[in-house]
Subunit: 252 residues, 2 copies
DNA sequence: AGGCGGCACTAACATAGGTTAAAAAATGGT
DNA sequence: ACCATTTTTTAACCTATGTTAGTGCCGCCT
């Protein structure tokens, strides 16, 4: 809370990222100005727009200001798997400096507002701010942890558990950037098909599972807003343990 | 081949890593000596030994010289999911400098020979050798790509396709460090249970699938040695496209 | 306000893959 | 070489999830 206000009082345009990093490291004024210095160009993507596609050459790194994005892959027969979601404060194409071209689809999942940082200035900023570089590397490593945990879900948890687990994870991640209401309610701008593609189940089964979760009073969904009615039971069902997110101790 | 010999003539102890990196970057003598400088302590793990366990504090990074390792996670009910395999030239606990403690099991899958590099000297080497740091970051990013592709497999490919895909991937990765014979034959020191745990299927089903692959003449297994009899057909079945490994053009 | 298009939901049926149980074969230690 | 373990293989049966085929709802656009 305090951190939240501190960040906003500075009127930073990189609020969400700072929220995510503080608690983890001490975000100095220097880092903040280095970040704002480099976050000059904004871009807006319409829902469904491709930020980048497989085979396309990386040109920039993106920092999400508002909205959701997805990283996804397709099988040769056209089936889609969503690898991960990105929310405000997350980077897109963070590995742009390492690889020439993308191997995945990065799409705006809602209307998306982001800063566009060309690779060159981004790399230079990292060289000048080693502490910040480490913090952002942490961010990337955290994402790998998230993908690993999803792999565990797809490999070894039932569709019901997977779904519960994803909801717990999103809830936690959104909390980090203060996008969850007191009532454990948050916006989840995803169709059941999107969820199915993230969890490796069919659309029909996704629907069965969601209704099951609703019927048993664990969650309630209205419009694209979800409320976790019994967080404890949901986490227990999912076998959710947030260790893999490596969040700072004090996080809610 | 040429690269292979060049590396071996130098009598480097970091052969496999250099093999992996060359082609990607120009591995200078400076980098090699920085690497050998830091790779002084060797450790041998017996098959099944834990290199690190969840909750345990990171102390070192490891560079595999010989043998295989796995990164795996358990569900709360004890089911295991292997996240990835590590082969000679791969690092273990590469994120040790970023996180305090491990969230996964890292185990010696065979008898394992590795260099042990304490975090401090490892970080210092990276700071002194930015080019090498970038190459190793590339390595870490490649692993994330591998995990993502496995997620696609578990989410959207049949058990048969997944199995074929994993075999194609291991074949390709082993080729990078010259551990595949001309005949597309290589050592695969894994029980069917291990493969099952990597692919998110039951042991029994894993057995069905492997016999299917053998019966249809795609592979042959004897002892812990596998031979891909029809690489083209296997890749086609798997929908295998090695783009996600981001290998240099000329790689076999 | 009406109509269109995407989503959510239902139902009946099909199957890939899971479970349990047990035998055969290979491996490794002494 | 022999015994103890581990690993592979078989078989019978079961279920979670997929597929196909719809209906109806809701939000958005004009």
């Amino acid at each position: 809370m305090a951190t939240d206000q501190a960040a906003r009082e500075l009127g930073l345009m990189v609020d969400y990222l700072v929220l995510k990093l503080s608690g983890l490291i001490d975000v100095t004024a220097d880092m903040k100005s280095a970040l704002t210095m480099v976050c000059t160009t904004r871009a807006t993507f319409a829902r469904g727009d491709h930020v980048i596609q497989p085979g396309e050459t990386f040109k920039s790194v993106y920092l999400i200001m508002d909205g959701w994005a997805t990283r996804s892959k397709l099988t040769s027969s056209g089936a889609r798997q969503i690898i991960n979601f990105a929310i405000p404060g997350d980077f897109l194409c963070f590995n742009a400096a390492l690889f020439r071209e993308s191997e995945v689809f990065v799409r705006a999942h809602t209307r998306l507002e982001a800063f566009v940082v060309p690779i060159r200035p981004f790399s230079e900023m990292l060289l000048k701010q080693p502490q910040l570089a480490i913090a952002l590397a942490w961010t990337a490593a955290q994402e790998e942890g998230i993908v690993s945990e999803r792999l565990l879900s797809l490999g070894r948890r039932s569709a019901l558990q997977r779904s519960a687990h994803l909801l717990c994870e999103i809830h936690k991640r959104l909390q980090t950037v203060r996008l969850v209401k007191e009532t454990d309610q948050f916006e989840l701008p995803m169709t059941q098909e999107d969820l199915a593609d993230a969890l490796g189940v069919s659309l029909i089964h996704m629907n069965r599972v969601l209704r099951n979760l609703s019927k048993t009073g664990l969650i309630s969904i209205k419009r694209s807003s979800v409320r976790l009615l019994d967080l404890k039971a949901l986490r227990s069902l999912a076998g959710f343990d947030d260790d893999y997110l490596h969040l700072p101790e004090h996080a809610a």
